[in-house]
Symmetry: D2
DNA sequence: TTTT
DNA sequence: TTTT
């Protein structure tokens, strides 16, 4: 049966994206993103709670992230949860959960010389990874994942 | 700047899908869907509130809806809000808001002879509208919109 | 049965909020919000499509909107779809769909003298409508609906 | 600034809920939930990918889960991502990510003798944890978290 | 009517 | 007009 595995985040990057260029012309970007919640506790004191998320982007999307996003950038992210499980040397299960980003968009602050908010999604038909540089999406537009199904993730 | 316009619904169809075959080999399906909320009011009485939604599906997705969905079907829907505005004979603005479905999946009850729950999405690369019947998604899978950008909607 | 009726929007206000103070110490705010999508059509031309949404906020949330939001403000909104239906003088059904906001948060640009981004939600336990001004949420925090069930909406 | 940390899942439970009654009249339920995605790979073969999620529910919600949910139950879940980090005996960072459920609802198949679909949410004002048994939400309704802010999670 |  |  079909399931739904959807994550929606709004928050800020804790560091610049880390981008790796892999063999076979593939690119992956890893980002750390904070989402902060504020509320008043029983004593009426303001409490802030920050959750950190590991984001993973692939292909053209990763390159756009490298180009437009940096530490502090506020973004909207849509993706899905993926948990890696493996065994360490002691034979114990180890877990690491990340968000596979399907689309993102920059919020708020204008990029350096550029316009205002950016959105970078992985919108298949609309912005092919093979698109010429001039037609490439900017972070101000929704940047959608353009990857195929057989990539190693 | 990039925006987000996202709708997520879980509910039941009030009637069978209405499907129209248009010229140019295009298909559109219109569905009425109810989402029901239940809560207790100040007097502790249980109150039910039902909201009705007009759904619109195109192309292969519309055909899957016609084939698998019917009055009473429980579905999960993801889409976006679209409001049509026009002027009536009196020159007054008239409004009609519908949900342009981007993906859907059948929930719960198994279709007649078939497997378990269905999901029908509009997943571009994965399930092309041109796919052979045997490889067509069923309502038990996520059915995603496969339409192009230049269609009349 | 329980349904889901959820809307998530990111966009900008087309005008300042319109706030009405009703009898019985109730407040309602109406806002117009644009969500813009950009994509390339078949000819490779960039096309922009803007959808306009009618937002409705109540109570403390409405007051926060009045205080912090204005024309151009970029916000994240979570809410549900509500369609009003009535008959006009000709006896024809008239429809108007709005988004009943359950929580919102300001994005991007800092409010005038204030801190950073704002989020205003309707978070019941956390920020009661009866909270003293000093403990009131700002638009930089998530502002959640605090209303009761028996209000006229 | 205010952030958004939202998860939406539709899937099935891999086992009955595990419920623990804690001191101080607190209850916690842990559930394993699968979300399955199906797509065709480059060779046109149908591929299924299942992701497993650790859900955590508290208070009245946990009790409703214990009462109505079991292995195989199909549910809709809304929550937020929470990652626990600690150091193991080797001084290495260990991670475990779970979904703190804010609301859920049962989908599809009717519970044994009961009505149809269930939704169990954590809707504060509407269905207080202190509500009498007869007014308690069933899994067919949206079951919302009723917990306070100072609980240990 | 917003924003880029 | 669905569903419970």
């Amino acid at each position: 049966m079909a399931g739904v595995n959807k994550v929606i985040l709004v928050g800020n990057l804790g560091a610049d994206p880390e981008v790796k260029y892999l063999e076979g012309d593939n690119t992956v970007a890893n980002l750390r993103m904070a989402t902060t919640e504020a509320y008043k506790n029983r004593n009426g004191e303001r409490v802030e709670q920050t959750e950190w998320h590991d984001l993973e982007m692939w292909g053209a999307q990763a390159k756009i992230a490298e180009q437009y996003l940096k530490k502090g950038s506020q973004i909207y992210v849509e993706g899905k949860i993926k948990t890696d499980i493996w065994q360490d040397e002691q034979g114990q299960n180890r877990y690491r959960t990340k968000i596979r980003v399907l689309s993102f968009t920059m919020l708020g602050a204008k990029p350096d010389g550029a316009g205002n908010q950016n959105t970078a999604q992985q919108a298949p038909q609309q912005r092919p990874a093979s698109a010429a540089p001039t037609s490439a999406p900017k972070a101000q537009e929704m940047v959608t994942d353009t990857e195929d199904d057989d990539l190693p993730f």
